[in-house]
């Protein structure tokens, strides 16, 4: 029995026992290099390809469209550099609420940033309006890691489809791709690439009860990516290095569990989310819920408590063994409050009064009730 309450599942998730079990033989007995030619190595290669096929299935993709990486950050970097390196002088468009692992690589090219509304939802028309004849890539997240807002990926992809058609008709051969960072979305949303209409998608094992430092980049067939990591030519020569077989198998298992239980988990956790929000706004009516109530990950709760210093609050909660995150990753200590909250138009002061709660598979109703009481108690002490 744990003596603490963990409500920071958006930061890290504990590995599912079934994931650990699926991996363990590949850490010792089946350690062979999948590129080797003897039979036990070939068997390992088969298992790796099984894992790849499993992942492809959940995405409605082909095995060859799955590139294993070492996590979400690498997947995002590979997608952006992999495309943009092949198109010197062309531009990329992203949004104002992306993760740093998208913002940083994007900002090394000619780029434009699409704004969001006050619920942290990308304004599709404004984003589409930024596209010019030299735009090659759009990178937009599926769901935001801080405030949980779910982005209108389908409507963005439909409009991109239209622009592609027009380009073909007008003789512009510049491609236009849509990359989606789905790191936070996998536990709760549909990942079928054709339904979403996307070209590249990043997944992250560490956020779905799988191993950290495992990830996937889905790359639709026909798209040429320039490799970041050169070497022995693994992963279709896009990402060299001996495959992390155990990691890939664990990630595949984690994705299978997440996607096959997705609907039940969404309804279970949505109830906890609304219980949390109701209870805390009842007890502390001045509480502000940031982000969208409608288009929101069911596990995300982002709150501001006007006048309360979030670092102080978290430090008290830490002592009482409730672990959650500051609503703004770098608050009073840093010069820059969260770029996401800024993009939503939330004042620096309110940003420094905010916390992020993210529920997960182990969260129970009693955890929610206890947590709200702990938070309310701590706030009453420091206000």
């Amino acid at each position: 029995m744990k003596d603490y309450i963990y409500l920071d599942y958006a930061a890290a998730t504990p590995m599912d026992q079934r994931v650990i079990d699926s991996m363990s033989s590949f850490l010792s007995a089946d350690f062979f290099n999948p590129s080797a030619n003897y039979s036990p190595a070939k068997k390992v290669k088969q298992e790796l390809n099984e894992a790849r096929r499993g992942i492809a299935n959940w995405l409605g993709a082909k095995s060859d469209e799955i590139i294993f990486t070492a996590g979400g950050t690498e997947s995002n970097n590979l997608a952006i550099h992999g495309i943009m390196n092949g198109y010197k002088g062309k531009n990329v468009i992203s949004s104002s609420i992306e993760h740093d692992s998208v913002i940083q690589p994007v900002s090394q090219y000619i780029y434009k940033i699409a704004p969001v509304d006050n619920k942290a939802i990308i304004d599709t028309d404004k984003l589409i309006g930024l596209i010019d004849s030299n735009t090659v890539l759009i990178s937009a997240m599926y769901a935001n890691n801080e405030v949980g807002s779910i982005q209108p990926i389908k409507s963005i992809s439909q409009k991109i489809h239209e622009i592609r058609k027009q380009r073909l008709l007008s003789g512009n051969t510049t491609p236009l791709y849509l990359h989606v960072d789905a790191s936070q979305a996998v536990n709760y949303l549909d990942l079928h690439h054709a339904r979403l209409g996307i070209d590249l998608m990043s997944l992250n094992g560490g956020k779905i009860y799988g191993p950290k430092q495992t990830g996937v980049l889905f790359v639709k067939s026909g798209i040429i990516l320039k490799s970041n990591i050169l070497g022995g030519g693994q992963e279709r020569n896009i990402r060299s290095g001996t495959e992390n077989v155990a990691g890939a198998i664990g990630l595949s298992k984690a994705l299978e569990i997440a996607q096959s239980t997705r609907k039940d988990e969404v309804s279970r956790i949505s109830e906890l989310q609304s219980l949390f929000m109701k209870k805390i706004t009842n007890l502390l009516p001045e509480t502000i819920i940031n982000g969208s109530l409608k288009n929101r990950l069911p596990n995300n709760i982002h709150l501001s408590f006007p006048g309360i210093d979030n670092e102080r609050l978290l430090s008290i909660l830490d002592d009482r063994k409730l672990y959650c995150a500051a609503g703004s990753a770098c608050s009073a200590s840093s010069n820059e409050p969260s770029h996401v909250l800024k993009a939503m138009g939330i004042s620096d002061e309110l940003a420094r009064s905010s916390i992020r709660i993210s529920l997960g598979r182990q969260t129970t109703k009693s955890d929610v009730e206890k947590s709200v009481d702990l938070i309310v108690g701590a706030i009453k002490e420091i206000s």
């Binding site: 670092e311 102080r312 430090s315 002592d319 200590s333 840093s334």
Partner: protein, 348 residues
């Protein structure tokens, strides 16, 4: 009415306990983190954010108000630029002494007083009594050497509670109170350079240095050095000149970019019985001929008895009763009368 103390909280155990003791003594305590430096260096991560969080955490545990003062610009100008200029001139400065003089006991003090403090407090191992600075009770930890350039008016507004105790006692108090920093390791080296050392820091500031000759006591060229500024007199050195006896730096010629070394520990260039101090600072009053004084020529060095002082213009020529090894230009020599810090100056 209760008096208000602003405690400089670095996120370490010493200043954490300082705040706790003052709270216990009945003061209104405000914790302040001074943000003096935040830049990472090659091979060294600046831990200011972690330290800030730790300081704030302790403040929260103690239930005291907490602030941050951003002194980065001033620290850069008054401490870092000074330090770099001194090294460029071939001397070996002490940035911690400058930090105490310019930042902690001037800027921090003034800002705190303006914000409503009656006193400031720091977690130094030294004692303050009636505007006098005394060595800390813990002889092993005594930090009075770094404080000799603080002035009497500042000391009259300063409290240093842990100067009255030994380090293990400080840890014990932190543990007993369950402070978040109770088990935190002591910081090492110059605060912002950390363990990587001054060489890497100077390289980022000044660029790579020109190699030059290393010359031994017989005038023989032993090989190349990596930049004469990195060498400090008395330093036992890995001179990269291969095997044999250890070498000691006896001097350097910055203009001709030469470093002089010796294998002879008794080399007369390594030992001095006199030294000249400039830029003198006396906390209460200048030394006089009636009293007995001792002097410390670097942090943690043994105290040596002073034979005589002679004023030479703005400088002091000091004769010692014994020879001292490795008196280094740019370093501070601090003069004590028994347990009291009288003041001191910079070795030239």
């Amino acid at each position: 009415m209760r008096e208000t103390v602003y405690v400089g909280m670095s996120g370490g155990v010493d200043s954490s306990v300082t705040a706790a003791l003052l709270l216990d003594a009945g003061y209104d305590v405000v914790g302040v983190y001074m943000k003096n430096w935040s830049k990472d260096l090659p091979g060294h991560h600046c831990t200011w954010e972690e330290d800030y969080q730790d300081a704030k955490k302790v403040a929260t545990q103690l239930g005291i108000e907490f602030k941050m003062y951003d002194f980065e610009n001033e620290y850069r100008q008054k401490v870092v630029d000074y330090m770099v200029a001194e090294y460029q001139a071939g001397r070996t400065p002490n940035p911690d002494i400058m930090c105490n003089q310019e930042i902690k006991f001037k800027l921090f003090l003034d800002t705190a007083l303006e914000d409503g403090a009656d006193y400031i407090a720091t977690g130094h191992y030294a004692r303050v009594k009636d505007g006098k600075l005394l060595v800390g009770i813990d002889k092993n930890k005594d930090q009075s050497y770094f404080l000799y350039r603080v002035n009497e008016e500042a000391l009259k507004k300063t409290i240093m509670p842990i100067g009255e105790m030994e380090k293990p006692k400080v840890r014990e108090i932190a543990k007993r109170l369950g402070l978040a920093t109770a088990e935190k390791k002591d910081s090492q080296g110059i605060c912002f350079v950390g363990k990587v050392g001054i060489k890497e820091f100077l390289e980022t500031e000044l660029g790579p240095q020109k190699p030059g000759q290393i010359i031994d006591q017989n005038g023989k060229v032993l090989g190349d050095h990596e930049g004469s500024l990195y060498y400090t007199i008395g330093q036992r050195h890995g001179l990269n000149v291969g095997g044999g006896l250890p070498y000691y730096v006896t001097g350097k010629d910055v203009k001709n970019n030469q470093v002089f070394v010796t294998t002879d520990i008794s080399d007369k260039n390594l030992w001095n019985q006199t030294l000249t101090l400039s830029d003198l600072h006396w906390i209460n009053e200048a030394p006089n001929s009636q009293s007995e004084y001792t002097i410390r020529t670097r942090y943690r060095a043994d105290l040596v008895a002073v034979k005589s002082f002679k004023k030479e213009g703005d400088n002091y020529l000091i004769e010692l009763k014994d020879e001292v090894r490795a008196i280094t230009p740019g370093q501070s020599a601090v003069i004590y009368e028994k347990e009291r810090v009288v003041g001191g100056g910079i070795v030239i």
